[in-house]
Amino acid sequence: MSGGDSLAVELRDIGKAYRFYNRPQDRIVEVLFRRKRHHLHIALSGITLDVHRGETFGLVGENGAGKSTLLKLVAGTIRPTSGRMRVNGRVAALLELGAGFHPDETGRDNVMLMAALNGIPGRAMDDYYARVTEFAELPADVLARPVKTYSSGMFMRLAFSAATAVDPDILVIDEALSVGDMHFQKKSLNRIMDFRKAGKTVLFCSHNLYQVRSLCMRAAWIHQGRIMALGETEHVATAYEGYEREKEGASREASRQMGSAAPSVSGLAPVRFLDASIETTDGVNPAYVETFQPLRLAIEVESHRADLPFHVGFAIVRNDKENIFGTSTHFRDPGHPIRGEGRHRVVVLFPSFPLQSGDYLLSVYVLDDTGIQVIDMAEGIRPFRVLHRGREIGLVYLEHEWEAVS
């Protein structure tokens, strides 16, 4: 096949169907009497997709859409029912954290087994072990204990480290990015970023569209076993979002109207969102905002960690959850993160607020210095109304000039 070398994963018209039987003996009846007794469950059909070498590729879709089946196919734990596939390079799969771990064995023995599982030869094992334990940040006495005595956070840290310390060409990850505490989540994300920088291929699925958008170059939306959208991440994520919004429908809208009731992520975040206010010439948090008024948006946060640089982002959201506009301090140029303990205030000025009449809400995000990890957030807060005195229709006033009216 031409250009095969630049492809890490090559799937051609892949289908995966499971046979299931109402009664176990039906399986025998089918074999002996050649009588069809099975029902087919089609997990995937007509999947054609290429993942290029060095690409970070995301899979989005609902639960049960077939994302995990697709990852298992690439990982080689199941095989397709139809179609052709090629996986070029060594695959490390992270389909379930700690799948190869035994609770009665020590952390050390479990890691050693993972080394053997990934074909790491005897000499390189010690080196591998050192890398795993360094990344997992577990002390030697903990590693000498059976894994069943670990907290779930410790367990996941070790499992994630063991799975990613191998040096694969292709890394397959299923929903494993939100592991452990904040600090470790960030480290795990950084590890994925390192893989990306090292030119490795990463294939992962996630429910977190923000993560998919930030990490992936291309993506595919899988729906009921088929590819609904494939290509640039932004297109795919938007298409999927549109579908989700449609599905959620108007019922959600009503509850969203409650606005400020939506709480922030947790009171324990190291950088906390405190307050957001809107200021116009009519004062702070006015009854309504007029279109074309200068509008100042002030966000207050409090940092409890001097060593955690962060960014602040916000979005203006219509009351039906539609994002109107959002930006973040890391989109500035240069986008230096905010540092230091204590209170911080981020103020944005809209010299001439262009939204037309409607009800809007704010969502505020505190992000880490990469802009990927969400440290704290408050969605759907501070409802405000905009009134447009003019007669133009629509959501937003677009600058325009009538050049000829004859």
Partner: protein, 256 residues
């Protein structure tokens, strides 16, 4: 294959360790439980049923006979019983972790050899101290052990993959093994069986192998047909089981 050896050894260690983890006697159960079984049979068959083996006239003759036969039997039956269920037990795991599947039944079969190895050393020691040890047994031993592993491994691999599709095997294999146990001359010498049935024992691979062990260690007389059957059974079960496993392996993970 070479890359799989370290994995196999670690998996074997995990299998043995984890089975006895948390118990006070730990790994000693591997020796203790066959010891109790052997004691029970010894008291029952040597002192109550008064079974005597013609070639071994001494009082303890039956004990040696029992030990020679039951050590490989326990290893084989345990290996088979455990390998039958092993793929069914690890089915979920195998979907989540790329893994050389054959290691699972192999580990079950090989781990079960542990008590046999310890017991055989004890048997040789006992025979030697009583002047009954036959040095030629050391020549037979590796050969018989190879045949034993070939039979058990082949059968174990086949059963492990078949049990995924026919779950009834999980129940049927242990009870069938009990029948085979009594159809194998372990608790009784063959001469207690009516002569017209002797040729039927050739059809029992376990009986052939165990008569081979008894012949090698104790010098009991065994028909040439039986001795010839050992390598044939080893080849048939070993190769047949392996091929069946190879053919059915793609069906793994299809039984959702």
């Amino acid at each position: 294959m070479t890359a799989r050896l370290p994995l196999f050894l670690l998996w074997l260690r995990r299998d043995i360790k984890s089975r006895y983890a948390g118990s006070i006697m730990g790994i000693f159960w591997a020796v203790l439980s066959p010891l109790l079984t052997i004691s029970l049979f010894y008291v029952l068959f040597a002192h109550i049923f008064k079974v005597r083996v013609p070639e071994l006239a001494s009082d303890t003759g039956f004990f040696y006979y029992l030990l020679t036969g039951i050590l490989p039997w326990l290893a084989m039956s345990e290996g088979l019983a455990r390998s039958t269920g092993v793929l069914a037990a690890y089915e979920q795991f195998l979907q989540k972790q790329p893994f050389p599947v054959a290691i699972l039944p192999t580990t079950a079969v090989i781990a079960a050899l542990l008590p046999q190895v310890v017991g055989t050393v004890v048997l040789i020691f006992l025979l030697a101290t009583n002047g009954l040890f036959r040095p030629s047994a050391l020549l037979y031993l590796p050969y018989l052990l190879c045949m034993q592993i070939a039979m058990t491994l082949g059968l174990g691999m086949a059963l492990s993959i078949l049990a995924l599709h026919v779950r009834d095997l999980l129940q049927a294999v242990p009870i069938s093994l009990q029948f085979v146990f009594y159809a194998t001359p372990i608790l009784y010498p063959l001469n207690m069986v009516p002569a017209e049935y002797h040729h039927l024992f050739v059809l029992n691979p376990f009986a052939c192998l165990i008569m081979g062990y008894q012949h090698a260690f104790l010098g009991t007389s065994t028909g040439n047909l039986v001795l010839l059957a050992i390598p044939l059974w080893g080849l048939a079960l070993g190769l047949g089981g392996y091929l069946l496993f190879r053919v059915l392996k793609p069906t793994l993970g299809e039984t959702l």
